[in-house]
Structures are given as C-alpha cells and as structure tokens.
Symmetry: D3
Subunit: 114 residues, 6 copies
C-alpha cells in the first residue's frame, strides 16, 4: 500500500478510537449510522460511494474525499467513471473544487498503482 | 403539470433567456458545459442526475434540487432510490439539509402525482 | 400564536410526516438522533439550544434558525442573551449572516410578543 | 422605483432598526464597520462594490447580492461589467450560483429600467 | 506545552503581527471586535467560547477550532461537555465535520495532557 | 523565487497535467474556460484578479488564494490595495477567514520579497 494511503488510514483509525472511546451516545450512533448509509439498498454500494464522493468534493473535505476514493477503488470504479464524478463536482461546485481535485487525482494514482 | 413545477420551469426559462441574451462568453459557455456534464458517458444519465442531486442538496440550493428532481423523475428514479440519495445528503451534510429535504419531498410528491 | 410561527410549525410537521412515512431507515434514525442531541446532559438544554442556534446562523439556514429560536424561547432565553448569540454568529460568519439575522430578529419579536 | 427594490429596502431598514435598537455593542460596531469597508481608499468605491458583489454571489446570499447590485448601480457599473462579475462568480462558485444569478439578473433589470 | 499547541500559537502570533502592522483600519478594528465578542456579558465567557467552537466546527476551520479549544480549556470545560459540543456540530454539520473532529480530538488530548 | 511559491507552482503544474491527461471533456473545457474568465474585457485583468481573490478568500480555499495572489502580484497590485481586498473578505466572510488571511499574508510577503 502507498505511504499516502497508509498514513491516512492509520490516523483515521487512531482518532476514531479516541473519539468513540469517550462514549458520547450521539457521536457513536452517528458514526454507526454513517456506515449504514452506504450499505446496499435500492441503490448499489458503488452508486452510493459515488454519491458520497461527489458530496465530499463539493463540500471540499479532502479527508472525506480520500475515504470515498478508497471505497470507490474497492468497488471497482474505473478511472473514466471517476473523472465523470470529478466533472460533476467541478461544474456544480466551481473551480474552487480544482485544488481538491488535484489532491484527489494524486490519491487515486496511489490507489490504482499500489 | 403541478403549479409548483410549472412556476419553477417558467421563471427558470425566462431568466436564462435574459442572462444568455447578454452574450457574456464565459457564462454562455458555462451554461452549455453544464448540459454536457450530465450526458451519457462511462456513467449513465440516471447516475449523473443522482450525483447532481446529492451535490445540490449538500450545497443546499433549492432551485438546483428542483431541477435535478425533475430530471431524476424523467429518468425513472423510484421514490425508494430517491430517499437513499436524501439519506446520503443528510448524513454527509447534516441536519442543516433537513429543511431542503422537506421542500424536495414536497416537490417530488408534485412530480409523481401529476 | 403569530401567523409566522404557526405557518412554520405546520409546514414542518406536514413534511416531516411525508418524509418519515417513506420509512428510509437512515433518515428516520437521523431525525431521532437529532432530538437526542439537544437533551439535557453535561451541558444544559438551554446551552445546547444556543449552540444549535449559532450553528444554524453561521450555516445560514433560516428554517433551522426559526426552529432553534422557538426552542430558545421555551428555555427562557432573554433578548439580551439572544443578541449575544447573534453577535458571535455575525462575527464568526461575517456580514453575510446579517440578512438571516434580520429574519431571526423578526421571528423573535413574533415569539416574544405573542 | 420598482416594487422589488422598494420592498427590499423597506424590510432592510425596518429590521436594521430593530436590531440596532437592542444596543448589542458588537453587532452595532460590526454594522458600522461594514459601512467603512466600502469607503474610498487605495481601491475605488466602485471596485469595492464589485468585490462585495462577487463575494455575496459565491456565498449565495440573495439579499447581500441585491444590496451590492443597488450600490453598483449607483456607482455607474455597466451591464457588461456586471456580467463579467457574474462570470467570475459562476466560474469560481460553480453552477450552484446560477439560480442566484437569475435573481440577480432580474433585480438588475428592475434597477436599470426604473 | 505540547509542540502542536506551541507551533499553532507561534504562527498565529507571528502572522497577526504582520497583518496588524499593515494598519488597515477595517481589519484592525475587526480583530479588536473579535476579542470583545467573547467577553463576559449576559452569557458567560465559557458559554461564548462553546458557541465560538461549535460555529468554527460547522464552518470547518481547523485553526479556529484550535483557538477556541485553547480558550475552552482555560475556561475549565470538561471533556464530557466538549464532546457534547462535538455532537451538536456533527449532527448539524454532518459527517463532513468528522475529519475536523478528529483533529480537534487530537488537539484536545494535547491540551489536557500537557 | 521563494520555496513556498515554487512548491505551490510545481505541484499545481504536475497535477494539472495528470488531470488534463485523462481527457475528460467537461473538466478540460472548464479548465480552459477558467483561463478565459480573467482575460481583459469590460473589466481590467487586475480588477478580475481582485475579484477572483476575494471570492477565493470568502470560500476559504488556500490554494485558490495563492494562485490569485501570484496573479495580483504580476498585475502590480500594491500591499495597501491587497489589504483592502482582505478587509472586504474578512468583513463579508467573518473571522473564519482570518486563518486564511494569515496564510495569504505569509505568501504575499514571499511574493514581494523574492
């Protein structure tokens, strides 16, 4: 696994443990609900991950983007499909999304080349 | 067609005409590019409209939501599928998206009952 | 009750019923979790409602603002306390919050004078 | 004066009076500082109003947009100049800005035709 | 003091000096007004810092979050209280706030363990 | 050239090449349109770059800010003029813009001192 991906996963796991360990009921349920949101339903897991990705891009959250890129990779999303999601995000969200698209493109290259 | 839908479409058309009539090259090309974004490609038109919808919801733009709801309706999106998009939008974007979800739900009822 | 307050409550109830009636598990749990968030805990209900209000103001969601104004009124928040919340929201969020502050001020006058 | 412009100005004045009347020091100073921001300086009033307008557009605040459109009109901004500001706002902020651009275009027509 | 906290404070002080040194009247007054906003009033300093924190979280500004975490720590906010603020921020602002909550949790551990 | 500026330019160029190389028609046209937006027109290049800067600041995108700071420097914008743009951005967008203003101020010092 690439260093970029590994570091992201490690920090995410470590801090989730800290947060969940505080036993705040609302936060712990929200984290749980978050997982349910992307489960197979009327829409496929793949479609839901694309939805999560485009939402993260227009809201410009790099870590959320990385998370959904990892999931999209697991779901077999192709580079061509991915860039169509990038296109929707950049058209709806504007050129302000471009710097996040650069970091997303970098992370995707790491995912597909490792 | 319902009054809500008709009024939305009429205002949208009237003002697009005013804007495009000013012949600002960048704006006119962007409007054109916007249409291309949702064309069939590696991803289907239906998937792209769902992407446009979720992006509009987390960015909380009622008019953009209405526009994509109309397109989703044309693409045969079911109510169950739609509410899974609503779920992603509300989980990613938070309860701040709820009031927009109310108006989206109202508009969707108009679309499917007319 | 003032007409402004009554209309807001009626629309909110009607559309929540439509949304919850679709039985989307994630949305229904999120609505439920939303209620738990503002329950008495280490922080008082009053403090939590002030937090919900300031968050709604900087995110500029008029309906969310109205909802929390109603709850703040129930919790006995004074006008002077309320305007200190308005001050935090306008300083952190900028003058872009002013138009929402105007509508919040109007709604508050309705609440305290009815 | 057009009805749209008149109603906007009247509501704005009425609610500013309510807010300033509560004598919250921070809010009152911020309102005052807001006025100073657009005063002649190293940049002209006209340039500053264009800056205020584009900022209001990408942050998608219709009332702020209307306010700065009024000021731009007073400063002799031409329709061609204005639409170049609209272009920057829509490119930077994305198509999510389009519905606000429609309402801005409508308001501008009122301003120049009254 | 932890390295994370120290570096944050040092950069903040250094750049504030650069900015204030340019003597832009509006910016310097805004910086001053910012300080007044969190002064004891009808609401306590502690409550105001919680308001500043939740506003910073939903607007997803890591540096603003760190600043208010430092102030909350000075005001004797407990970890349980803090996580209730985190809960409000994540429910209102959505899971897009989670990555910022991770960094906030990390910074808080530094504050309480140093 | 300063290291900060050089690194920013290098990463930007490298990743733009990756993105454009994927030949997504919408993205490539948007990148192209972005360039046209800031061309001389009814408004000067300098004014348009100031507009791009203030839009980037209120939307709080550090990389976009850096890009427009570079362009403003090329256009001969003075420090006094720049800080008036900073003032508009901080008043409209609120103190949440301050951390981005710190990084902008740092980058500007690099630009004018190299």
């Amino acid at each position: 696994m690439s260093q970029l991906v590994e570091e992201f996963d490690a920090y995410r796991s470590k801090m989730n443990e800290v947060i969940l360990g505080k036993q705040n009921l609302v936060l712990n349920r929200l984290f749980n609900l978050d997982t349910n949101t992307y489960a197979e339903g009327a829409l496929s897991v793949k479609t839901k991950e694309l939805l999560g990705l485009v939402a993260s891009m227009v809201l410009r959250c790099d870590d959320c983007i990385k998370y959904h890129l990892g999931k999209c990779h697991e779901q077999g999303v192709t580079t061509q499909e991915l860039y169509e999601v990038f296109a929707v995000a950049n058209i709806v969200g504007g050129t302000i999304v471009i710097p996040h698209t650069r970091r997303a493109a970098e992370y995707w290259e790491e995912l597909i080349n490792s």
